[in-house]
């Protein structure tokens, strides 16, 4: 981006263009299989959930197009967004793919460019994904879900979240407040996602892939046999997750 818009106006300028360089993760795809992409991307995010949360991302289709592998850009963008990342650019796309991206408000980057404008608006909270069972509002601050939350679905509640069914492996439930699951919890549960360290997770059968309160998390490997498959509550004490039976 250049600064050629500087003209001597009568009024004092209220804005200016600056060229600046950002470091943005680039997602280079070598397969067009949506399921695998999603699974592997999810796996990566899993390793560093806080780093990836709301992270901008440029996706690169050059390898795919080199091998004549077509990919549905709309679907790809949906997957990226669903996983909580914010796609801000396409690179190495074919004309039609670029067009598809543009229609969804994703800028097209030429292969060598590294500067990325921060023009995309950053969402403070991840939007509740379209692919979620219909939430019903219980009280002002609680969201009630009565259907199973399936693999690939994501639920976000700005208050407490109460789920009367199971949460499948591969599903993710997030709440700014507490989380209650009255079924098997096999997916990922993140309470206090905006930093509320008082938030707790309650579940009747703990088999979770990940549990987190205010960013402090444990993955399934960290869960010992004594709490697995048990009704438990999870809370924070001195920045450590405590899992207690109830």
């Amino acid at each position: 981006m250049s600064t050629d818009s500087q003209q001597n106006d009568h009024h004092s300028p209220v804005l200016e263009f600056k060229s600046s360089t950002f470091s943005v993760p680039v997602l280079v795809l070598v397969s067009n299989d949506a399921i695998t992409i999603e699974q592997q991307l999810q796996g990566k995010i899993h390793l560093a959930p806080e780093f990836f949360k709301n992270s901008p991302l440029v996706f690169d289709l050059q390898e795919l197009n080199k091998h004549d592998l077509d990919i549905d850009v709309t679907e790809l963008i949906n997957i990226i967004r669903k996983l909580g990342l914010l796609p801000i650019g396409i690179r190495g796309g074919a004309a039609q793919q670029n067009q598809q991206a543009l229609e969804l408000g994703i800028p097209v980057h030429s292969g060598h460019s590294t500067a990325v404008s921060s023009g995309t608006q950053k969402q403070q909270t991840p939007e509740p994904e379209a692919a979620t069972p219909e939430p019903q509002v219980v009280a002002e601050t609680a969201t009630l879900i009565t259907h199973p939350v399936r693999s690939g679905q994501r639920i976000y509640a700005s208050g407490d979240l109460i789920i009367l069914a199971q949460v499948s492996a591969g599903a993710e439930i997030m709440a700014e407040g507490n989380i209650h699951v009255y079924g098997s919890l096999r997916g990922r549960a993140l309470a206090g996602v905006q930093g509320n360290t008082e938030a707790r997770i309650f579940c009747s059968d703990l088999q979770a892939e990940l549990i987190s309160i205010a960013g402090n998390y444990k993955i399934s490997e960290d869960l010992n046999g004594a709490v697995l498959n048990q009704p438990v509550q999870i809370y924070l004490q001195n920045h450590t997750l405590v899992i207690k039976d109830i």
């Binding site: 399921i35 379209a130 692919a131 399936r150 499948s168």
Partner: protein
């Protein structure tokens, strides 16, 4: 009222097409006028399993594009005159189907048919999306292994949020579990998930268990849906499934291992 049934799974090769052919035939044999549609544009193998591949003139895409009428494209089954097949195109790419086009054809079919069975392609992309979008009922075909179960779970999530019924806030799609290629011996050896395991993970109504069976291959080689092989275990399993779907109460079979001669002689479990 006509009902649209989607046969879907997420994972490929689990038995969707086998199931679509069998249950469509089963419903027609029970006296219900039934159409079965191949949504697997580009691959096309429902017509092989139905044994009508040589009679395909027009296909699904021709009808959507207005190049043929529905009646021109529908093929009447050779074994049952209440059953019709709408074949997929082998030559087009998957973008040839549009939601609007599919919706129009289904609306037209609903006027004439009691059941419309949609054989979904694998995956969760456009073809699979279109196959399930208009469904009233979903038959989730799952094999007793972790990856298949996980993909089914995934598909269930999509059914409950991205289908027409979900989008229009109507009563949700009715979901049924069909556990296919089940082999009690391998379950016993710990090589496969058991019926209970799968139900525990998916918490879904079990419509039936279809055993792993050689009769399926024989049936597809001869171009007759396996349900017509009434002596075969898989054929009987599909007959049970159709009967249960239509409201009959039949006990589940093919869940326990076959007793060998030894077991038969000495009885007990």
């Amino acid at each position: 009222m006509a009902r649209i049934i989607v046969v879907t799974s997420g994972k490929g090769g689990v038995g969707k097409t086998t199931t679509s052919a069998a249950i469509a035939m089963g419903l027609a044999k029970k006296g219900h006028k039934t159409a079965v549609i191949d949504f697997d544009v580009g691959l096309r193998n429902l017509d092989l399993i139905m044994g009508c591949e040589r009679r395909v003139v027009y296909d699904f895409v021709n009808v959507i594009n207005g190049e043929a009428s529905l009646n021109q494209a529908l093929i009447r089954d050779k074994n049952c005159n209440l059953l019709y097949i709408l074949p997929a195109s082998q030559t087009r790419d998957k973008d040839a189907l549009s939601q609007e086009g599919v919706g129009k054809i289904l609306d037209e079919l609903k006027k004439e048919f009691k059941y419309i069975v949609c054989d979904s392609p694998a995956g969760i992309e456009k073809g699979a999306h279109l196959a399930m979008y208009f469904a009233d009922d979903a038959f989730i075909v799952t094999n007793p292994e972790v990856s298949s179960v996980r993909d089914s779970d995934r598909m269930l999530g999509i059914l409950s949020s991205k289908s027409r019924r979900a989008e229009q806030n109507e009563e949700p799609i009715r979901e049924y579990l069909l556990l296919s290629r089940y082999s009690p011996d391998r379950v016993k050896l710990g090589e496969m998930l058991s019926v209970d395991d799968v139900q525990e993970i998916l918490s879904l109504h079990l419509l039936g268990v279809i055993p792993e069976s050689k009769s399926v291959l024989n049936a597809s080689n001869s171009g007759t849906p396996v349900i017509l092989d009434e002596k075969s275990d898989a054929g009987q399993a599909y007959a049970d499934i159709v009967a249960r779907y239509l409201g009959e109460d039949r006990p589940h079979r093919f869940i326990d291992e076959k007793k060998g001669l030894f077991g038969k002689l000495f009885g007990g479990k």
